[in-house]
Amino acid sequence: MFRPDPSSPISPTEQLVRRHRLHPLELLPWLAVIGTYFLLPGYLPLGSQVLIMILFALSLDLILGYAGIITLGHAAFFGVGAYTAGIYAIHVTGEPLSGLVVATVAAGIIGLISGLIILRTHGLTLLMLTLAIVFLIQETANKAGFITGGADGLQGISMQQIFGQFRFDMFGRTAYVYSAIVLFLVWLFARLLVHSPFGRSLTGIRENITRMHAIGTPVRRRLVTIYAISAALAGLAGALLTQTTQFVGLSVLSFERSGEIVIMLVLGGIGRLYGAFIGAAVFMIAKDELAKADPVFWYFWIGMLLVLVVMFARGGILGLIDQALSWVRRKS
């Protein structure tokens, strides 16, 4: 995280100009991703799920953390991507990369259209509209059983090899590497985006929308743009889930999934890019472990964790780490 340092000998302009430079700590998640592949081969299927949820949470961070758009309907785009990838694989081709592209574009278009409609509003109205959209799309998928499989889900998806080379193997190795590479590319893009003038202006909109209007920002256009981008990336995550599990069910479009992704992001820390990584990982691993012990009761512990974070660590887990680090720095 960039923190301007007034006591530094480096000039103010220089500090701002350098802020996007890569910090070594930013490579930590990638060491963990690579380490998991070699050290924990038995966990690769779970690992892929975690990577996909990180991607989904990262897409949410762009609108929620940076632009300050609170949504409980982000699964709508995840689901559109997931179904598009599934339907495409069944009816067009099982070639995975083109499937990803088609699903991403489809989710982006739905994001653009719904963004144009709902981003005229804000606050509670906007929140309700995001909810309404996820219900509308889920109900549509439910009723359109002839193409979506309705409540039974979409069966019979079979994926071809990636680049005609890499088969999706039963140990989940290909799926893991595939998801990791997609996530890496999205991370590069998201990192560029949040450090770009466009990304800075989103922060401006979140911090003070009145001021942004007064400096001549076309606020709604910016918001719709990031909403569509975020929707596209959520769709990409959904498509990855379909391709790596070769199944799609209505749960990809559920309100629960929308809520869970918000929880993951808040848990990790919003508006910091890496909150998505840590939040999704902690949530998915905790869910996996706790659900083994008690398949029903685990939500209680997730709830507990959330209460603690929201009450005592508004910046999420990353915020806690930040505080601890600055405490250590002050002591020394």
Binding site: P12, L16, R19
Partner: protein
């Protein structure tokens, strides 16, 4: 000469309360004008109408001769309309420098750029910084705005507006809320504004108004009561009546 800014028959009411009642006003290029009037007279509302935060119920607004009555806020800013707020409207969590960079990027049409790092637009950052130095805020550039004393935050308001290189600048009580010991620095900044900017200042401090303005408009209950030079306004019986007991500026 085409006025830099003009309003024709501008009207607005909140429910039954008329807050702009047929306001005809104009600002010549490079003007140094003031708008005064008692609390609740509709001064801030007038600025909000001009900048497009509020839509008038009737009338016209012309910027450099162009009708901007129905134009969104952003378009008006692009055409040279800048303002400051009576109550600080800043990015409190961001550094002073970033506050100004935001405006400078927007002014140069670079703020929508998503495929380059903000830092690679070095010129924008340098332009913002030199503006801060001009306002003697250079040493505070990296401080979060919320850590600045209120008087300096008022200067950041002005710095942001100047970052937009406006041809018309509307200052809504730039010294409001600032302890009297710090008003001098704000006034000196205002006095040193580039001569080609048309400036309209709203202010309650009559000393400041009389020192700065070449022409004064008095607004009462949403209507222009009288307009004139400082000497004319000071001598006007109606103005004295409105201000009687409130302020005494001789």
């Amino acid at each position: 000469m085409t006025p830099a800014l003009q309003t024709v028959g501008l009207k607005k009411s909140f429910g039954a309360l008329p807050v702009a009642n047929d306001i005809n006003f104009s600002l010549v290029p490079g003007a140094r004008y003031a708008l005064i009037g008692p609390n609740g007279a509709g001064k801030t509302t007038f600025i909000n109408l001009i900048t497009g935060r509020l839509a008038p119920s009737a009338g016209q607004i012309l910027l450099g001769g162009e009708d901007i009555t129905r134009m969104p806020q952003a378009g008006r800013v692009k055409r040279g309309l800048g303002r400051t707020f009576q109550i600080n409207t800043l990015f409190k969590g961001l550094s002073v420098l970033e506050n100004v960079v935001m405006a400078v990027s927007e002014h140069h049409g670079k703020a929508a750029d998503m495929f380059r790092y903000a830092g690679s637009h070095r010129g924008l950052v340098e332009e913002a910084y030199s503006l801060l130095e001009r306002l003697r805020l250079g040493a505070d550039a990296l401080l979060p705005v919320k850590e600045l004393p209120y008087g300096k935050q008022r200067l950041v308001e002005i710095a942001i507006a100047l970052g937009l290189k406006p041809s018309v600048l509307l200052l809504d009580e730039p010294a409001a809320g600032v302890p009297s010991t710090e008003t001098e620095i704000i006034l000196s900044v205002i006095e040193q504004l580039p001569g080609d900017i048309a400036v309209l200042i709203i202010e309650h401090d009559m000393e400041l108004v009389f020192r700065f303005a070449k022409k004064i408009t008095v607004l009462v209950q949403g209507a222009v009561l009288v307009e004139g030079t400082p000497a004319e306004i000071a001598a006007d019986a109606r103005v004295r009546e409105v201000y009687l007991g409130e302020r005494d500026h001789g």
